[in-house]
Amino acid sequence: MKMFTVAASAAIMAWASAAQAQQTLTMWYHGAGNEVEQKLINELITDFNASQTDWKVELQSFPQAAYNDSVVAGALAGNLPDILDVDGPNMPNWAWAGYMQPLKIDESKIANFLPGTKGVWNGQLYSIGLWDAAVALVTRQSTLDELGLRTPTLDQPWTKEEFTAALDAAKASGKWEYPLDLGMAWTGEWYPYAFSPFLQSFGGDIVDRSTYETAEGALNGEAALAFGEWWQGLFTGGYAQATQDPADRDGGFAAGKYAFSWNGNWAALGALSAFPDTVFLPPPDFGAGPKIGGASWQFGVSATSKHPEGAAAFIEFALQDKYLAAFSNGIGLIPATPTASEMVDNYKAGGPLAVFGEYSSKLALVRPVTPGYVVQAKVFEKALADIANGADVAATLDAAVDEINADIEKNGGYGH
């Protein structure tokens, strides 16, 4: 009789675990429309589903342009998936709004990850990226030689004066339509991502990071005003164009229209194939050290997930070097770990894009880690566009500060 009970309970437990094996986890991803990315993520999911019997991940892909709206709409409808991917600077907003929960994975697994790949909010890890992106000052060795410019290094980047002298020399030579291509055509997140590091290198910031409760002094202090004057000077001085044709952004450097281009690692291979002597210089140091932006798309767990341990298991599985390397090979981003970088021809030591990994690990500063960033990014973008178009620097930055502060106040300080 006892024997029978044991056998029966064993059978029940086996049945229960078999039922559990069918536990489905839903996942949303922003890569619809990109075949390579789609194939990589599908392989990752297939591998994970085959590697264990507890969970089965099902993917739903969205076009990147519609992804954030879909998540907000899904959250309002109480219909979020278990696993989300999230653009790094957006994460605090979603965590604060209660869309996401802290990510419980083994900290030792991400110890050697690039700083920009870790999404930490309120002292807790919410999201982790398989890759990061980095921006560099793209030019040609022949340009540097021709203009008699010192090659800046990570230890000795150009100073503001050297950078200005380089732009002056390029302008005086008359060989290019404009000395500098900033990517003004890429409106949207590019502005805070690519240009706020200049402001931070001047010593200012979008918001005061010590409290996150005001932008006063950070975005309209002396450093910020100096940045604003410099920024406006780029356009009034004829070094860069305030409105740019998107086609010039994509092909202008390769067509020889610009001497320098402020562009990311994703465009680096194209530049190299146009000019084999392309070099990727570190950003200039405007006083507070050279800086670039960090954080790209990352994975996290939704707050409504009934199986956060399953979602975390999937994310942990994805953090293996081979997937980091596969994504890097496929879509050109910087692998999150040095060991994975060694598996990628472009990013291994001595590889053509290895400098980007170095910039990412040493210069990257994440955008302000606050739920208010979503609004602050928009305000910053408009302020920079207005200043580029000739608006008064101090008045524009003051207005931006007022708008950011009003928004922080409206939101009860965003929980800081």
Binding site: D69, V72, A75, N93, W94, W96, A97, G98, Y99, T187, A242, T243, D245, D248, V374, V375, K378, V379, K382, A385, D386, N389, G390, A391, A394, A395, D398, A399, D402, A406, D407, K410, N411, G412, G415
Partner: protein
Amino acid sequence: MASKFTVSNRTGWLMAGPAVLLIAGFVILPFFLAFYFSFTNQRLVSPNATEFVGMANYRQLLGVTTVTLEPVRDDSGAIVMQDGEPEYPSLRALTRNNPDRPDLAGMREWFSFSLGGDSKTYVLARDVVFMKAIVNTFIFVLIVAPVQAGLALGLALLINQRLRGINVFRAIYFMPVVVSIVVVSLLWRLIYDGNSGLLNNLLGAISFGMIPPIDWLGNPSTALGSIIAMSIWQAVGFHMVIWLSGLQTISPTLYEAAAIEGASKWQVFRYITWPGLRNTAVLILIVITMQAFGLFAQIDVMTNGGPLDSTQTIVFQAIERGYGKQDISGGSAISVILFVIVLSISLIQRWLTREKT
């Protein structure tokens, strides 16, 4: 209490039911929600509870005041001049961190003028961008409504003739209406391109290079004009068809009588065509006005409100705030203000064009 309206019309209600439900759910309900939200601090994304804030959103949007400043004088009492203009005290010192004028905190200069004498009057607004959006929208409406209606009438008269192949012309004029406004905007962005756009090339070719390339959308003085021209072109065909339908309801016997009487072409238009188009004209004017107040897609695709707010519009601001900046309450308040503006203008138009008996 059962009236003829509710009982005998049972079939009618049944047929109208689906449409009534959809309109109630997607037009009427959001309309009332917008009213409600505009008095709260509702956010798109927030864990905080919604609170009533009274008129705060409206005060923030519509706050305007004036400050008159005397020019700076040196010790001898002479006006300090700078670049040939009298120098005035800094507005920044007045509006920022100034304990004496807490009412001015956060306000910005909208524009300034001088009413003779040395003093200068500054008009300060709490939300300069929204003020500019209102002005731009009114400029847009004031130009688009008459020009588009006039051009459409001209085209309608042209194609209202019995000629071989007239349908080809009708189709050509109507074509831009069928194409999505987003696609049209993208195409016109290429046409207006500052370096190698079609328009610049065309102007350069016909002037033998005398007219230098103009950055149509990147220049604050030409951006709104460019969008106005393109918008008129895009929707003129639609109104042309409405005019045409109006023209074809005018009885041909009137024209035959006019021909017998020996009326000139102008007399025919003035005394037969135009009075016959009365109701059509009222309809077209109201439709164009309402459509023009809703200007959004062209701005979103072509300029994003820039450069220097020269193409900000009311609807663009409503969406930019509500979704872009997650401020549903601010966006709702803008929608309500727009509703009040459009309603008042429609009522005025109705009154001006009423049947005078």
